[in-house]
């Protein structure tokens, strides 16, 4: 799926203003976990321009169906059935084909299936909360799941996470690696969430809010939400192979 001419060039330097700063006192855990020194900025090297690739052979038939994958199809998870779909592009607006997307989320009651989640909302015996898929030749992906619940978390005295799905995306180079979160259109908790608010640009935060997509829904079955993702791009110029300054 890789195209050497397109997929191995130098990476466009990351626009750090598009991302949250490391330190944000309202998200208290960042205080002790944020570097104080500026990052050391360098042009990408083959180390960042290459990265792991994963083929479709990796995927099981239910990997992109969180409603069914925990029970291997035996029984569906509880919750509002939704389809999430979108396209992965790079900064040059080119589809990123054949890239692995992993997702994880809480169940419909806002409880994660994790040894360290002790929230008293019940576990769903039929829901694991993780899935994965690989983008097609157009960079498109989709998966089925249930809408996750909001949940409280220890930060300020009464902080709640809006409904969200975690996304992990690889791209074609290790320097494109990205983890983010998808929120849901209309959720009033987005505006109250200190983690969402680590993103200082409202227009950037809005890009994490998936709109309800009725055209992609299925009557009498599921609603749909659309979530497009943009990864770092690669420089594209006919002068790229000349020494700098020539």
């Amino acid at each position: 799926m890789t195209d050497p001419a397109r997929d191995q060039g130098p990476l466009i330097p990351r626009n750090r203003a598009a991302h949250p700063p490391a330190y944000d006192v309202d998200y208290k855990t960042t205080v002790a976990r944020s570097p104080r020194w500026p990052l050391l900025s360098l042009q990408s090297t083959p180390t960042e321009e290459t990265g792991p690739t994963f083929g479709h052979a990796l995927l099981g038939p239910l990997d992109n169906n969180l409603i069914l994958n925990f029970t291997h199809g035996a029984a569906p998870a509880v919750g509002e059935r939704i389809r999430v779909h979108g396209q992965v592009l790079d900064e040059n607006a080119r589809p990123v084909a054949g890239t692995l997307i992993e997702v994880w989320q809480a169940n419909a009651g806002g409880r994660y299936r994790h040894i360290k989640d002790s929230y008293f909302a019940p576990l769903d015996p039929n829901f694991g909360g993780c899935g994965r898929t690989i983008t097609d030749e157009n960079g498109c992906y989709e998966f089925m799941t249930i809408r996750p619940g909001a949940y409280p978390w220890p930060n300020r005295a009464n902080d709640w996470r809006p409904m969200h799905i975690h996304f992990s995306i690889f791209g074609t180079g290790f320097g494109q690696r990205l983890i983010s979160q998808m929120y849901f259109q209309g959720d009033p908790l987005i505006d109250l969430c200190p983690i969402a608010a680590t993103i200082k640009s409202r227009s950037q935060l809005d890009r994490l809010v998936a709109p309800l997509d009725m055209a992609a829904s299925r009557p009498m079955d599921y609603l749909a939400y659309k979530f497009d993702i943009v990864l770092r791009g690669r420089r594209q110029t006919m002068f790229e192979n000349q020494p700098e300054g020539m």
Partner: protein, 199 residues
């Protein structure tokens, strides 16, 4: 006004949160069985050519406390400096590995092959190194850094040469801790803060 650019802006990062393991290494989260095995379980397969090494370390916060909920990823070349997928690369080297800091001790372990030096596009060589990407609750954007090796010649590495303060350079050097053993601690802030990269 000017013409609009055709370029897009990267999707903003958000923290991986405390439950990153559910999605990335579900067996570690206590949920085996959804996939045959966790992705990135091994950096190498049996028969990888070169010196087999084990790197152990912790990810320490500004107080010196080791994170118990971090997840790291590594990416590296094989013993001859070739990345997986490149012609002639060692098929037994996966190059990519995922590992969490232990929930009790905070220690991580990376078992892999020592990478070779990697040439740059325009000449010059990078000293042997392993790229790291660190995510955790409280880390808003994954942190990039590199592991170099105490027993390699790092004097001509272009990245290390960009670090002005010699004590900071040492934060990227794994220390020998026995035959085939290295120690590499990552300090997120405070004295000896690790050099993190924008690369």
């Amino acid at each position: 006004m000017v013409q609009p650019l055709a370029t897009l802006t990267e999707t903003p990062s958000q923290t991986a949160g405390p439950y990153v393991h559910i999605g990335c290494i579900p067996s570690f989260a206590g949920n085996p069985g959804i996939y045959p095995e966790d992705l990135g379980k091994r950096a190498i397969e049996d028969g990888a050519r070169g010196e087999i090494i084990t790197i152990t370390g912790s990810v320490l916060d500004g107080t010196g406390w080791a994170l118990r909920d971090a997840m790291l990823e590594s990416w590296q070349a094989d013993a001859r400096g070739l990345f997986p997928g490149q012609p002639g690369a060692d098929p037994m080297v996966n190059g990519f590995c995922r590992f969490a800091t232990d929930g009790d001790s905070g220690e991580f372990t990376l078992h892999t092959v020592k990478p070779g030096a990697v040439p740059l596009r325009d000449g010059g060589m990078q000293a042997p190194h392993i790229a790291l990407w660190i995510t955790a609750r409280g880390i808003n954007t994954g942190l990039q850094t590199r592991i170099y090796f105490q027993d390699e010649d790092n004097s001509a590495d272009p990245l290390l040469a960009r670090i002005e303060q010699r004590p900071r350079l040492d934060t990227l050097i794994a220390q020998n801790a026995g035959v085939g053993q290295y120690r590499f601690d990552i300090r997120l802030q405070g004295a000896d803060e690790t050099v993190f990269l924008d690369i």
